[in-house]
Amino acid sequence: MLTITNLTANAGGKPILKGISLTVNAGEVHAIMGPNGSGKSTLAQVIAGHPGYEVTGGSVTYEGQDLLELEAEVRAQQGIFLAFQYPVEIPGVSNAYFLRAAYNEVRKAHGEDEVDPLEFLDIMAKKLKVVEMDEAMLQRSVNAGFSGGEKKRNEILQMAVLEPKLAVLDETDSGLDIDALRIVAEGVNKLKRPDNATIVVTHYQRLLNYIVPDFVHVLAQGRIVRSGGKELALELEERGYDWLLEPAGASA
């Protein structure tokens, strides 16, 4: 589904990703872990096509196409979804309106008819259950005045509506209490299908008790320094990241 080869990228003119290679197949769950500032969000944003990050080398192939050639909205329409680490507020635009606009864009891209507000309400009724959210959330402005936990839950609601092929969850667990964490994780699990894949970015092992990964990768200083199965997450929990990091100056 997704093949990343030797990807390098800059943020704010500074090299952040320094040669990432990663293959994700349908049906798989990959966890990307690593210390703060290691480049996890940068990788997620590059996959989603954020124009503020400059790809300087390497390639990304998604479903047989050169992903880097596609506009961010086209990537989204073709099934790439990013649950933001910091979801953005859009005052005055209701969640329901925004979700339906997004849903219809994806439908249009697939040559399907747009749905009207009434049909959409029916669809939403089911989707709200996935994240145990109240209907009242639909009438509030997108993320505006939401608590940290509500914002994260709202991201998963959007994911439930858009049914992506490849979902990238960037620190969706941070800011969640244990109940919210369980609801969000169960939501993600319910959305799992054999033909989709998930990349879970986190720096805590906690979430991985609920969303069990097939592979775990450690990202440090812009490189994947170790990959393994789910037991690697447990090892990291115990030993921290330091043992995987290059000593300063070692590469010089």
Binding site: A48, G49, H50, P51, G52, E71, A72, E73, R75, A76, Q77, F81, L82, F84, P87, V88, E89, I90, P91, G92, V93, Y97, F98, A101, A102, E105, V106, A109, S141, V142, Q158, L162
Partner: protein, 477 residues
């Protein structure tokens, strides 16, 4: 980012075409003779000619206001044409007699003058350059005693009403542009709603400037008699031309006791090109007088014009009267707007609400100028003002000039203001959900303007939202 969004081609101004039609225009320039000529063309009674001449005399002694926060070159008032009408338009013609070329023009603008094809529930008066082409649904309105016709027709058919109210809210001496309008005004709409009648249709006037180097000086007068209600909407477009054209209109509203008037504008005059060449100079005086227990509500969505200078205002004359002003003003490229309102509290327990949303993009400059004045007898007056600005990009400007004068210490005033910037992150968030940049911007802006859009009649709210999206295209860099 910038290259991505800049490469979104600026959609052409959709209404920029010219109708090829033979016109009867008077010679350029402005003298007393011009005023007489216009009056004669319109077969006006002596009293109206006298009024025009007084206005003209007054205008000669006035100077163009330069206090607005806008920059533009000298206007040569002698280089303009003050009257131009399609030859095919006959006075008091019926809709069946309208020149097919003109019908086509309005079809192209999305306005059907064919009553069968029209949106039900809306009556239209179509003004082309200096004359009204026709008014729809007149018969239906007549059944309710509602008069909706061109100003020219009203002068002939209902002179007593026109004479009684013309200049009663905006005297000809009010300001430079109002005096100019009073001297040379050509056509416009006239509305009278009788006592206790709720106008069964939305009334709407569509203004079109077609001829080159011709100013449009329309005059609209709306009178809602005691207990009456009317909702009125105006729309405006003009061809793309590289010279600036002058539009100096006057709108007067009279809301007698217990009446309600809701006046909405979607202003989409040609704005000039991205370098600021061409476009309409929109210098407009709009004011309403609200008598006891009455309410006047202005809603405006201003997206067009090179320069906008207008302050739809309410004189809260009667006790318990209400004035409202809801405004969205958008400037992109080199557009400049200086707009706002005046709420003059004279009666007791008068109430006013001002919601202003200014959006600045490109090199646009947007100023809100608002006055709240509470006179000594206005015990218990209340005003709420909310003034929000949104900036798109780094080269535009937003300015606010609030003026508050209070001569009665029982008044309650609240003022809120904010400035925000449309962020790359907001746009990217929308794109990540499958919306393109255009759609994202119009959605974010619509959210920002929500409180104003909800005041527009339903049919027009969507149109206004789309219009906003179009005028902001290519604006994020």
């Amino acid at each position: 980012m910038s290259s991505q969004i800049e490469s979104l081609v600026n959609k052409e101004y959709q209404y920029g075409f010219v109708t090829d039609i033979e016109s009867d225009a008077i010679p350029r320039g402005l003298t007393e003779e011009t005023v007489r000529l216009i009056s004669a063309r319109k077969n006006e009674p002596q009293w109206l000619l006298d009024w025009r001449l007084k206005a003209f005399k007054r205008w000669l002694s006035m100077t163009e206001p330069r206090w607005p926060n806008v920059k533009y070159g000298e206007i040569d008032y002698q280089a303009q044409t003050y009257y131009s009408a399609p030859k095919s338009v006959k006075p008091l013609q019926s809709l069946d007699e309208v020149d097919p070329e003109l019908l086509k023009t309005y079809e192209k603008l999305g306005i059907s003058l064919n009553e069968q094809k029209r949106l039900s529930g809306v009556a239209v008066d179509a003004i082309f350059d200096s004359v009204s082409v026709g008014t729809t649904m007149k018969e239906e309105l007549k059944k309710h005693g509602v008069i909706f016709c061109s100003f020219g027709e009203a002068v002939i058919e209902h002179p007593e009403l026109v004479q009684r109210y013309l200049g009663s809210v905006v005297p000809y001496s009010d300001n430079f542009f109002a005096a100019l309008n009073s001297a040379v005004f050509s056509d416009g709409s006239f509305v009278y709603i009788p006592k206790g009648v709720r106008c069964p249709l939305e009334l709407s006037t569509y203004f079109r400037i077609n001829a080159a180097d011709t100013g449009q000086f329309e005059r609209t007068l709306i009178v809602a008699d005691e207990g009456a209600y009317v909702s009125y909407l105006e729309g405006c477009t003009a061809p793309k031309r590289s010279t600036n054209q002058l539009h100096a209109a006057v709108v007067e509203i009279v809301a007698l006791d217990d009446a309600q008037v809701k006046y909405s504008t979607v202003q989409n005059w040609y704005a000039g090109d991205k370098d600021g060449v061409g476009g309409i100079y929109n210098f407009v005086t709009k004011r309403g007088k609200a008598f006891t227990n009455s309410k006047i509500s202005w809603t405006q969505v201003e997206t067009g014009s090179a320069i906008t200078w207008k302050y739809p205002s309410v004189i809260l004359q009667g006790d318990n009267s209400t004035g409202e002003f809801y405004s969205v003003a958008v400037v992109n490229n080199k557009q400049q707007a200086d707009t706002g309102t005046k709420m003059i509290h004279i009666g007791k327990n008068t109430k006013s609400t001002i919601i202003s949303k200014g959006i600045s993009a490109g090199h646009g400059q947007n100023s809100y100028r608002g006055q709240v004045k509470v006179l000594p007898k206005a015990t218990g007056a209340r005003n709420y003002t909310q003034c929000d600005s949104m900036l798109i990009g780094n080269q535009c400007g937003a300015h606010t000039f609030p003026y508050i004068e209070i001569a009665n210490n029982s008044a309650t005033l609240e003022h809120e203001a904010s400035t925000s910037k449309i962020g790359e992150d907001q746009i990217f968030y929308c794109k990540q959900r499958g919306l393109n940049a255009e759609h994202a911007i119009s959605l974010i802006v619509a959210g920002f303007c929500k409180e104003v859009f909800k005041e527009l009649p339903m049919e027009f709210a969507l149109e206004a939202q789309q219009l906003l999206g179009i005028s902001l295209e290519g604006s994020v860099g």
